[in-house]
């Protein structure tokens, strides 16, 4: 009897570790296999570098899926300059030095034409010196805190003036002047909040409390208590990752609903809502450039394809869309350049327009960000957004906030 148990246990452990390994092996096999079968000249390699394990896997796995889908679309319609695109997938493992190391591996060993990757600003900042030194190219698909514009990076997510700044103006006009700032304790929330504070000072708002909690923090009772005491009009939420789940669940338990105070979030999209529950979040707001419900013909086709490829229960959201269009924008630039060379692609990319699911986008040559439409949405019970405001037209990216007089001090400090 005991021996059977032992056998079963060992078997199950081996099986389990096999499962864990298999995904890594598959990647290897696929790239090795194709190398031997196909001639090197028929394929062009691109790197996909996201966290497929660790705390950020929750968000980044879907980006990988969207990028693979875009690559498949391009391959199915004849490839690029007569070559098939071959993705080389690496796992950044939610660990910033790993991102730098894998980016180096992709550029030096695999000699990829470009990398699509990253989520957190820390991962981008880890990859930045690597792509610059190796004269590589990186497409970074997530909204971020701005104050950066590397010649070797294209930013397909929103910068601050396409997300945070318009959201703050909208809140001041529609919800009230007293702001409560809550964020995770790292670079994005701290930079975002210093921008919000400068903007509020200039536009007549007031910050009553500014709170930071460590990444992965799970107890928000004290923060909520403070909120009850100061009674803000608006909570501006820059928490990231799992903390959002704890924050919103506990906010609801404390009897605070969206009628009492509006929470505006910048890191909660459809994917995150699934893990929190629509009924917990209903009525609260988020600001993005794309929602799954955005009404464009391109989006209808995109959502349908994505669900068909990865399952009916999957949802699309802003970073997923940005990752998807990153691949297509790169392909457009390559076609225009007639070459995979980084410098030529960069030159050709300037001013390219693309009908994205979230509306028309355009690559701004000056800083390699995108012109994007800003959208504010209200979360519904079913976990989808109802758009309540949009900017009407694509907003010009301004990562250093040069066109805002109140932001002069900020960009000086950071440069």
């Amino acid at each position: 009897m005991k021996k059977i148990f032992l056998f079963l246990t060992i078997f199950s452990v081996i099986f389990a570790s096999g499962c864990a390994m298999s995904s890594a092996l598959e990647e290897k096999e696929s790239s090795d296999g194709q190398n031997s079968e196909q001639n090197e000249t028929d394929v062009v390699k691109v790197g996909i570098l996201h966290s497929l394990s660790g705390t950020m896997a929750i968000s980044e796995v879907s980006l990988k899926d969207a990028e693979l889908m875009a690559i498949e679309e391009i391959n199915n319609s004849g490839g690029l300059l007569g070559k098939k695109i071959e993705p080389v997938i690496e796992d950044g493992a939610s660990d910033w030095p790993t991102f730098a190391e894998k980016a180096k591996k992709l550029l030096q060993q695999d000699k990829v034409a470009t990398i699509f990757g990253g989520w957190t600003s820390a991962s981008r900042k880890a990859m930045l010196p690597v792509v610059e030194q190796n004269k590589g190219l990186l497409w970074y698909p997530v909204q971020y805190e701005g104050m950066e514009s590397s010649p070797n990076i294209f930013y397909t997510g929103a910068t601050t003036n396409q997300q945070i700044v318009p959201a703050v103006s909208w809140l001041l006009n529609n919800k009230g002047k007293k702001f409560f700032l809550i964020g995770s304790d790292y670079v994005f929330p701290r930079t975002a909040n210093s921008i919000i504070k400068a903007q509020l000072k200039a536009e007549g708002g007031e910050v009553v409390v500014e709170e930071y909690t460590p990444l992965g923090h799970t107890d928000y009772s004290t923060v909520i208590n403070k909120m009850k005491k100061v009674k803000p009009d608006v909570v501006f939420n820059t928490l990231n990752g799992d903390s959002n789940v704890a924050f919103f669940k506990q906010l609801k338990d404390a009897g605070i609903t969206s009628k009492d105070v509006t929470v505006m979030s910048v890191s909660i999209a459809e994917e995150e809502i699934r893990g929190i529950g629509g009924e917990v979040l209903a009525g609260h707001l988020a600001v993005w450039n794309y929602f799954q419900t955005t009404d464009t013909p391109e989006n209808k086709a995109f959502v349908e394809k994505y669900k068909e490829a990865y399952g009916e229960e999957r949802v699309t959201d802003d970073p997923i869309e940005a990752a998807y269009i990153a691949v297509h924008l790169w392909a457009e630039a390559v076609k225009k350049a007639g070459s995979f060379e980084v410098e030529k692609v960069k030159e050709a990319a300037k001013g390219i327009e693309y009908k994205a699911p979230g509306g028309t986008v355009k690559i701004e040559g000056e800083n390699q960000h995108l012109w994007k439409t800003v959208r504010i949405g209200e979360i519904q019970q079913d976990g989808q957004f109802k758009e309540i405001w949009n900017s009407g037209e694509p907003v010009k990216p301004d990562p250093y906030l040069k066109s805002y007089s109140w932001a002069k001090k900020l960009s000086k400090n950071d440069e």
Binding site: T222, D253, R274
Partner: protein, 300 residues
Amino acid sequence: MSIFVSQLFNGLSLGSIMLLIALGLAITFGLMNVINMAHGELIMVGAYATYVMQLIFSKYLPESLFNYYYFIAIPISFLVASFIGYLLEKGIIRFLYNRPTDSLLATWGISLILQQIARSIFGAPNVAVVAPAWMDGGLQIFGITLPYKRLLILTLSIVCIALLYYYLNKTSTGLRIRAVTMNRNMASCLGISTRKIDSLGFALGAGLAGIAGCSLTLLGPIGPTIGTYYIVDAFMVVILGGIGGLKGTIIGAFGIGMLSTVVEYSFGATMAKVIVFAVIILFLQWKPLGIFSYRTRALD
């Protein structure tokens, strides 16, 4: 005034959460001396067991019963987690007693494997557990709101402690567990099957982690990596409380809970972490064995 009272309650509530996550570890690490890095993943198993129960209730059973799924989920998550704990003990850990560094590495590996299994089964993103409607809202008292969920967790931790205390002190199996952990050779000479007791003890500790996971679904995220958020706190409580008994764990849990909430209110959450760690380190300088140290007759 009302802020003071509600902060007091928050401290108690955080303490009860700490207690629940540390209770299982107090047995596996405190009593049995296994540095169990997979404790957090056993919490995760409990959380996913609750999620699955919720799915079963919402899909296959009449809606009227959905309100009660949570009461079934508690024993189920205990059973599932303790079964997995039992398998781990039988398959791996029993070969590693008295080799603490090996067990540390082996259980760390197990924790990664369990995380990956969860990711393969349930997917990498978080899942949502819908709490029954009656748990929404809270008790209005002295002008403050005490959320029902937090009251439930507080009650649950008290019930767990009471049952565990009864089990370890009043039943013969419980006494055997304690006898083996105090002096293995002597207990074995007296005819106690130490192997059986070991697996029983480990399964019990794992099951308690499962209950902790079940209760955490009410407050926080449910994903493959949730164990990593709680494992450090759990070890902190057990080490502060003193290895070898439950009394220290209880005092350690509520002490850390209270201290964190008080410090967090004035200095913010990041500083609270720093200060709590500093206080614990200083305390351990003064009392290296924790709040309560237990003398055993074992020759070690």
